[in-house]
Amino acid sequence: MKALRNLFAIRPNEQRDVWTAFVTLFGVIGSLTVLETARDALFLSRIPATQLPWMYIALAVLSLLAAKLNARLSRFGGRVALSMTVAASAAVTISLAHFLRHVGHAGVYAIYIWSSLSTAMVIVRFWMLVSSRFTILQAKRLYGLIGAGSVVGAIAGSAVARTLAATTGPRHLVMLAGFGFAATALLPLLFTRDATQEVQDRGESIGALKGGAGYLARQPYALRLVLAMTISTACVTIGDYLFKSTAAAAIPRAELGAWFATVYLFLNVGSLFAQLVLAGWLTRRVSVPSVFMVLPALMLLGGLGMLVTAGIASALVIKGGDGVLRYSLHKTSSEMLYLPFTDAARQRVKAVIDVVGQRGGQAAASILVLAISAAGGSTRTTSIAIAVLALLWIASAVSLRPGYLGLFRGRLGRPRFEHLSAFPELDLASLETLLAALDSKHDGEVLAALDALEREGKVRLIPALILHHPAEAVVVRALRIFIRAHRASVVPVVDRLLDHASPRVRGAALTARSVFDRDAQPLLLRASVDESPEVRATITVNLIASGDIYGDDARDRLRAILRDGAVHTKVALAEAIAGHGATDFTEPLIALARDPAVEVRRAAAKAMAALHDPRYVSVAIDLLADENTRPLAKEILIPLGAPALQALVGALRDPARAPTSRWRLAQLVSSFEASSAARALSTLLTREDDGAVRFQIIRGLEGLVRRHPDIRLDAAVLDDAIDATVRRAYRYHARRAVLERGAAQDPMRKTPGGELLIRVLDDKACNATDRLFRLLGLAHPMEDFFQIYRGIVSGRRDAREGAMELVANVLREPLRSAVIGLVEDVSLEERLDAGGPYRSRVAARYEDLLDELLESTSESVRSVAVFHVGELRLTRFAHHIEAMLRDGASNGADGASDAARTLERLSGPPEEARP
């Protein structure tokens, strides 16, 4: 039992439902197998096989009534309804067995129909109950075992039937089947109570049939599923007819019972193998729609074989595929195809499939067989029908995949927000809005409109009369925009501002005047009469910038301004340099960019952006560190293109730079020309050791892909990064496992530092997992892994299920199992088992692991490990920590404090009270 439990990884909270399902299915299928063996023997020994299609048609009609009855039973809740269905099967079967002698052929027909009806009613209800209990991940683990109950039951049933068939008649087998049902009837009540689900069953099932048709119209996947199920039923029905009619012709009537029992026994043994070995293995490795194609592929082969040989052997091949796989692999995959639906939708679709798919398929197949017979068709003609239906079945299975995944995607919620890389072309309506906003009585709106028009490159449309706006801020902003755009046509209006009451406006006007008209005389004249020191300073800096003050005089004045100048003078200097496009003021501008005043730094940065000069790259990189100048630094760097990108990459590789500085550079790289930026970031990704910087490189790549969806990233680099990240995540988990085990073995190890160390490793593993999904998103741009990860961590069962199924369908082994293992809700040991080839070897003993952690590349891990060594007074590490302290390998000053403190603890007297 334990081995079996391990094989199917049943968790303690799942055991009751799993074993109840197993035993119930065992009892039901065992009874049904006995009943069906008796039914086939009875029917084919007394009635011609050509009557079988009429039975199928009758079944289709009566199934409608059965479906209604089934819906009524739903009001009693899932497990009670199943129990009542099985009990009813017992009562009817025993009654039929009792009256069989008195009713002749009618009884045979009744048994044939009843056996099929009860199969449909009980099995449908059983799987509805089971699917409401388990998620898709649980289903993949557990359906194999639950389904094995079916196969073991079938083997037991056919073995019993085979044994009894030799000594007793079919009627006793029918009676036995009835008792089997009766013995099973109470088992479903052992399922755990799930009140919510049962209430839901009650409400939803009543209108399931009615609602189903409407749902199909809205949901293409549901419609395709109904189609696939209908075709599959038709195909196996014809296969069943072909097998039985061939057997009836080839096997003596008296031997039919024993012969069927023997065949079914072998098929069921094969089915057990398929269920235990094939189903679990295949469903974990291949997508569910692909598993659904295995049976039709075998049916196709059998149909073609029958076409060639037309003997009992070929009929056995067809029945063999059906018998071995239908209730094992095929049933498992069929049930999984319902899992993308919500519980309510699943009931509706199942109700439709039960009536249309199962019964409609049977009826259609029967009509086809009757038509073939009426047209004088041979067994070969029927074989062709099987082959064609099998092909259609495969085609319909292929068409299921997009819808299947689409429904899971739908569970994740709204997809990630795609957004524009730039504003769309300015249309006339928007332009009108912007121009109209210039007339606003609200200065904020006017300023916003001015900025927007500059950004759109429409400065020429700003009326010059805006310079007469009553607000000082608006006039100064407009003048600066005109200066940057070199719009000299505004000079006549600017001249009128030279007598403006506001020194700020006068200063800005003089700057504009100086930029638009290089004649220095008006400036000199104004300098002699203007009373405002701010204006005079503005004039001076403009004269310096324009070259009208030059040589030592200019140098002295510049020095004085840089040393003692007021903030507004320095700002004016920066603006003047930019306005004049002066290229000989590199050093003063760099000095201004390092000024303590934010306004000055911002003005210098704006000037550098306007001058578009690669000499400012280095200082611009420094300006990225300050949130006040960061956006402006980007404006300097990005337009410079390749030289700036090269400098940024160089700075990123500079180990002397702090990681906090470097990761900001990584973010910016993605703003450069897409293919160059992608190359640079990919190269950096492979070389970067610091986790935080690596994270920002990944985010940079994400931004790049978001803005340029067509860009192709280096797949090999991404694969390597994914591989390394999965390994890293498993390494952290493995280390955590050793620490947790060690702490459990020796409670003295449960110190604050020990617990913190475990938390650090856990968080590191989480970080690695987050990064892994980002990398997967880059490697699979057609799948929204960002949203998938959000679904996984959302805590919503449906979103999580959908996300996990998408992961399972997109990734290939062994990565798939490893990734799912990282996010699945399992114990640490089970998680590590899922790692497969990605699982790293780590020191198995507690202290050996601490030794390993002292060498970690992560500063946090190293520091806490040092601290924990001190807590545990592990003197064997003293030399190691001394060496770390000596080599400065313990976080610089911060880490050294822990190393020094730990050495004190290791060598000192007993610990004083903790602060």
Binding site: G413, R414, R416, F417, H419, L420, S421, A422, F423, P424, L426, D427, A429, S430, T433, L434, A436, A437, S440, K441, H442, G444, E445, L447, A448, A449, D451, A452, D626, E627, P631, T660, W663, R664, G691, A692, F695, Q696, G703, P752, G753, L756, R759, V760, D763, K764, C766, N767, S860, S863, V864, F867, N891, D894, G895, S897, D898, R901, E912, P915
Partner: protein, 308 residues
């Protein structure tokens, strides 16, 4: 929360119009293009007549509304009715704290508002630090406006001033000291370590002034032991003690200190330059969102406590 008729908001609803609407109130200051496009592309301009109930598309408040023109009356179950005017958001506290709220929102007059769905805003805040920084600035500014500039007084200052450490704490000790406090409970330990690295332990003798009113707020202080007396513009005073945070809100709001802080006793504290804190927050978006949620919760409490 002064009500102003607001700028004339464009009639058409294109990206630029939405951007213009936000820019007019200075709400996009220092937000980069990426954030601006993300925010405006997935939002829309909603119009309401006087008396209209403002609700989200799904019948509950599932969007943040930034009033562009007109005003909206907001009534929450547990608090007073507030009128929100142009340039101010409605529903932001709910989305940031993650608490589903169903306030009664009624347009007081013809109102236009930029409607930003919750999930768009959250995604934009997580993806774009400049937007997050702006949101923090707005939130902290609003908190100062509503609550006043002085920090909340703490009883620990009088009853349990704490004991300063006998020696400087190591990096791990500093991390342990903050890992179970406030927004750091359950936070990624890497973020805690990054913060612990930039924290400086300071010892301030009684009487020394931490900062004066009007000085730039560029650092935050977390008191480990001792008490600090804070005196506002009108001479009103509050004493704060162990575990109190000082300077954070004004630094987050990008405003100067609105009060003088002076050590009343010998004080041991952790000091962190706000720029360094921002670096840590930028590196750890999850922690950044926690801080924003924390700030939003404080603002929600302050608004609830404010007289109608």
């Amino acid at each position: 929360l002064n009500i102003d008729p607001g700028p004339r908001v464009p009639v058409s609803d294109g990206i630029r119009e939405r951007l213009l609407g936000l820019s007019a109130f200075g709400l996009l200051t220092d937000i980069d293009d990426d954030a601006a496009t993300l925010l405006t592309e997935h939002s829309r301009i909603a119009t309401f007549d006087a008396g209209d109930h403002v609700v989200g598309r799904s019948g509950v408040l599932d969007s943040v509304y930034i009033v562009l023109e007109g005003s909206v009356r907001v009534g929450v179950e547990e608090g007073p009715t507030i009128t929100v005017g142009p340039g101010r958001p409605v529903g932001l506290i709910g989305v940031l704290t993650g608490v589903a709220r169903s306030p009664v929102l009624v347009a007081e007059r013809a109102t236009r508002a930029l409607e930003i769905p919750h999930d768009v805003l959250l995604a934009a805040l997580e993806q774009n630090f400049s937007l997050w920084r702006s949101a923090l600035r707005l939130m902290a500014g609003a908190l100062i406006d509503v609550r006043g500039e002085l920090p909340l007084a703490t009883t620990s200052a009088v009853h349990d001033p704490g004991v300063g450490p006998r020696r400087s704490r190591t990096l791990v000790e500093r991390a342990l000291a903050i890992t179970n406090v406030g927004i750091f409970v359950g936070a990624n330990v890497d973020a805690v370590f990054d913060l612990a690295r930039v924290m400086r332990e300071i010892y301030v003798p009684a009487g020394r002034v931490f900062w004066r009113r009007g000085e730039a707020a560029d650092a935050a202080i977390r008191i480990v032991s001792g008490s600090v007396r804070c005196v506002g513009a009108r001479g009103e005073a509050r004493v704060v003690g162990r575990d109190s945070l000082l300077g954070t809100i004004e630094a987050a709001a990008h405003r100067p200190h609105g009060y003088e802080a002076q050590a009343e006793t010998d004080v041991c504290a952790y000091q962190i330059a706000f720029d360094d804190w921002l670096v840590v927050l930028e590196a750890h978006p999850e922690l950044a969102m926690r801080l924003l949620a924390f700030m939003a919760a404080m603002l929600g409490q302050a608004l609830a406590a404010k007289p109608a």
